[in-house]
Subunit: 346 residues, 2 copies
């Protein structure tokens, strides 16, 4: 029998990854060891885990390893990405960022000036966000055993009311806070040796704090789900939500904000931009009656491309599916991503 091996697709955030993690972890860990009692753990994979606190609030904890290649890109670098990504994970769980830890693994021979620059970008984000760095680890691997640098970050936060994505429900409106796929398109173009600047491509990497904190305070109870569409893009988020909540989600092509340059680039390569990662966009499932108010709030806060892109419906026939209504008419199923589109996207 042929030996089975880890494929790039196993790390792409899509179907193959879900199956592998189910085999390795979810099916193997006893139910009582999948979470801290009263919290969210690997029993329902979300942006982060929660642990109940005696105050009635919840500690939010996320971990991510950032392996993006190239480590510099228009809009940021791996240091900025590592800080923003973990802060966004805490926010998407309904948490206010409290502290961060990092672990850097770097290749022997990597220029110290570059390491300095990357750490500086990382720390700049924390400074702007007023989030303390409370711990870390630092390892060096011999030349040739790791490509440049991998940064792992832990985000800690406090949530009064965690946003647990399994709560997506019939009638909810799906809102995105900005145009999609810019980070993914940029990294993919760079990996293919393209001149991204002339194409106007730039990563959207940023923290969502200025939007999410006031939004959570104002109407947190109406936010039934929140996720940043990183690996696997919008398609992955919506497929997860539909499957986990036993609903169908219908989105309208003409409502989905995509910059012309992302559309053009994706079209050229025959890639659906809905599979491309964003690093500064929130996807929200909002109680229907509040959807217009949330949209207005986002527009006022500078999210100029925010849009209500669809809604959640109940349907026994199509349970767990995402339907995509084309601008020119016709409806197709928007599948969960499979295979590896862009290795080392984040």
């Amino acid at each position: 029998m042929r030996e089975r091996k880890v494929m790039l697709a196993h790390g792409a955030g899509g179907k193959e990854m879900g199956e592998l993690l189910a085999d390795l972890f979810f099916s193997r860990v006893a139910e009582n060891l999948k979470k801290v009692s009263g919290g969210v753990g690997i029993d329902f994979p979300d942006d982060a885990a929660t642990i109940p606190l005696p105050t009635g609030e919840y500690l939010v904890v996320s971990i991510d390893s950032y392996t993006v290649n190239p480590i510099y890109f228009p809009g940021g670098n791996i240091g900025k990405l590592a800080a923003c990504g973990s802060i966004n994970d805490v926010l998407m769980m309904g948490g206010k960022p409290l502290a961060m830890l990092d672990a850097i693994v770097v290749e022997e021979g990597f220029p110290l000036d570059e390491l300095d620059l990357l750490v500086n970008s990382f720390l700049e984000v924390l400074k702007e966000e007023n989030v303390p760095l409370i711990g870390g680890d630092f390892k060096v691997m011999p030349k040739g055993t790791i490509d440049k640098v991998v940064i792992s970050t832990v985000g800690l936060g406090i949530a009064k009311r965690p946003i647990i994505d399994v709560n997506v429900r019939e009638g909810d409106k799906i809102i995105v806070s900005g145009s999609l796929g810019e980070h993914g398109a940029t990294i993919l173009a760079l990996q293919q040796g393209m001149d991204v600047k002339s194409k106007g491509l730039q990563s959207d990497v940023r923290t969502l704090t200025p939007v999410m904190i006031p939004l959570i305070e104002r109407c947190g109870e109406y936010l039934h789900a929140a996720r940043d569409p990183t690996r696997g893009g919008l398609a992955m988020v919506l497929n997860d939500w539909a499957k986990d909540s036993g609903t169908i989600i219908v989105v309208e092509e003409e409502k989905i904000p995509l910059k012309p340059e992302v559309k053009a680039y994706a079209g050229m390569l025959g890639i659906d931009p809905l599979y491309l990662a964003s690093e500064g966009v929130a996807v929200l499932a909002v109680e229907s009656s509040m959807a217009e108010e949330v949209l207005e709030f986002l527009l006022e806060r500078g999210c100029e491309n925010a849009s209500i892109i669809g809604e959640v419906r109940r349907s026994e026939k199509y349970e767990g599916l995402v339907l995509y209504r084309s601008a020119v008419g016709g409806v197709r199923i928007l599948e969960a991503p499979t295979g590896e589109l862009v290795p080392r996207i984040c």
Copy 2:
């Protein structure tokens, strides 16, 4: 001017690493962003960070990236090491382990059966310790861009009274819970292609929970400092303590437990075994009046090589130094480790 580059020594846990982290982080982050108010952060690097909870207790958080090479070794593998290491970091901070998160970065083409085995070893430790796995990340890097697998783990715990190592004080006795350097000697021998089994070498990787939890409950207030001597070994721990507390620490060669095979192997290579990593040993600074009781407790609990190896003294002349009294007479300074002895030790 020649470009400065990251050297293996920067990741060795010794002097060069301390200087680099000071440049990159400690000197750069504002004091109020080095910790959560009332807790321990990077203002005083310890085994883990703490965050005060409204109950008067403290949340303990650690992060480590495990890069050990080879990934299998007598006594364990990288999966077991990643679980034990982070649990021990929580314990050394006076915390009771509460939960864990992991982030695995694996090389494309790595056999799935091996990944399965490593994850299984990781989960076995958590099961034995009754510690839930509440979150994680999983990335794949293309073949040739990472050597096999790196595992980052986050340990979370609750401490009634954190053990903060800056509290080492005059009169304290230094106790080690077992013989030293076994993990380091084993990995080093394997990296040099030696047959470690015939030499009787084996990693000591294990959790210290069975010893530390009852010890903390019984006499936590007398444990002024606790650390597991990983990178840089006992020499690093004692130098950190002496420097940070402004004391001198005097240890006696004849009291320091070393297995003959570790001694023989280190002697052969001209390496001081006090610089070699342990992964299942605690070094404690204990109030003098309680030292005999703690030692007895450790011996009763199966730490058959536990020993009082020295004490903390005040001396203006030698402040910050570690003195080593040889069995045959004479005293020398036990320097903090410099350079890179063993890359990818943990």
